[in-house]
């Protein structure tokens, strides 16, 4: 899908330029776009290094586990199919905590482990169980405390207040996660009514 969008944007742009007579602008855009992307990534290094360093401390100090146990009662309710004390619960919680702290690289392996355990609970079938869909819905609406990368981009482009979007992002991500849970529940009840 990305492939089509990517080629589509470029080719449509080129055709448009041919018709509109904006070839000079397009020529310039190719080199400006590329150099801007590299500049941006160099700018990203600073904040990514700092933040991933901080998060590693939080992880090593056991802060993530602490938070996970804090959220346990809530999560048990979200995944009624998962028995108490099942390893799946631990992986689900640590995946969520990693996401919360913006540790994408740590979140992915934990998420895969969680899916593996959920598949075992589901008898190893190759179809998605109720818990899997719930887990996925929560994951795609991503609860993030600090949108690190976005802040870095805003700093690169001289924002007067690069972190002012932290509050709005928290609210928006909270709403989208609640919506994800509700939408998931709605589809579950629709499925179960159908039998």
């Amino acid at each position: 899908m990305v492939n089509y969008i990517w080629v589509g944007m470029t080719v449509i742009g080129l055709v448009f330029a041919a018709i509109n007579g904006t070839m000079a602008e397009v020529n310039e855009a190719v080199f400006k776009g590329a150099s801007e992307a590299v500049t941006l990534c160099i700018g990203l290094i600073s904040i990514l290094v700092f933040w991933l360093g901080m998060m590693r401390i939080a992880e090593t100090a056991g802060l993530l586990d602490k938070l996970a146990s804090l959220f346990r009662p809530l999560i048990t309710r979200l995944f009624p199919e998962v028995p108490a004390g099942h390893p799946a619960m631990g992986y689900i919680l640590s995946n969520m905590m990693a996401n919360l702290f913006g540790l994408g690289n740590a979140a992915t392996p934990l998420g895969i482990k969680a899916m593996e355990e959920l598949k075992k609970i589901n008898g190893g079938k190759d179809s998605a169980s109720r818990s899997m869909i719930t887990f996925l819905a929560i994951n795609t609406s991503s609860i993030t405390l600090i949108p690190t990368t976005v802040i870095a981009i805003r700093i690169t482009y001289d924002s007067a207040a690069p972190t002012e979007i932290v509050g709005p992002t928290l609210i928006a991500t909270g709403i989208s996660t609640i919506a994800a849970i509700l939408i998931d529940r709605y589809f579950y009840y629709r499925r179960s009514r159908k039998g």
Binding site: A34, V38, L48, I57, G111, A137, A161
Partner: protein, 176 residues
């Protein structure tokens, strides 16, 4: 709305202080651990360069040719009736499909409109508040061999739509 600005301002410094004190209290070698974790940041930043170059050049061509303005002008009247800024639509479409492509688009919009403009703030919030549904779906289900996805894609995309709406409403209320 004042309180949200205050939280935005205080949240990161307080979190940094808390992590450092907690780490020290738990006898974590804080500085060494920080350096270890930070190394990963360099790798991550360098590895996204090709994604960003590819996407930002395509968007730059699309924009410079005049095609983007043309497209936005067509969809603008319909969207503005329901209060959606048309300029944000390309980002909303690409966000669930590719995280790195969306990152490229967010950067491009912040560069073009300014980080403190309405669109700049909205793009920032949108980028931070939803995740790449297709990526999560492919990686998580792919890794454990789930072939029948059931309602997963529908639920994921509807949740994205809800997040998109939430971002517009929240940003409009706070900065609009």
């Amino acid at each position: 709305m004042q309180i949200i600005s205050v939280i935005s301002l205080w949240f990161i410094p307080v979190l940094i202080g808390f992590i450092l004190l907690y780490g020290t209290f738990k006898k974590v070698p804080t500085y060494e651990t920080f350096v270890e974790g930070g190394k990963e940041g360099i790798k991550m930043a360098v590895s996204i360069i090709p994604f960003l170059v590819g996407m930002m050049v395509a968007i730059a061509i699309f924009r410079a040719s005049g095609a983007l303005d043309y497209m936005i002008d067509i969809i603008r009247p319909g969207l503005e009736k329901v209060g959606i800024p048309a300029d944000i639509v390309p980002l909303a479409i690409i966000r669930p499909i590719s995280g790195n492509a969306a990152l490229g688009m967010t950067s491009d919009m912040i560069a073009a409109y300014g980080p403190d403009s309405f669109i700049g703030r909205l793009a920032s919030t949108l980028q931070g508040s939803t995740d790449t549904t297709f990526y999560v779906l492919t990686v998580y289900f792919g890794a454990v061999g789930i072939k029948k996805m059931g309602d997963a894609l529908k639920v994921g995309l509807l949740a994205d739509l809800a997040g998109f709406a939430a971002a517009i409403i929240v940003v409009t209320l706070i900065f609009g």
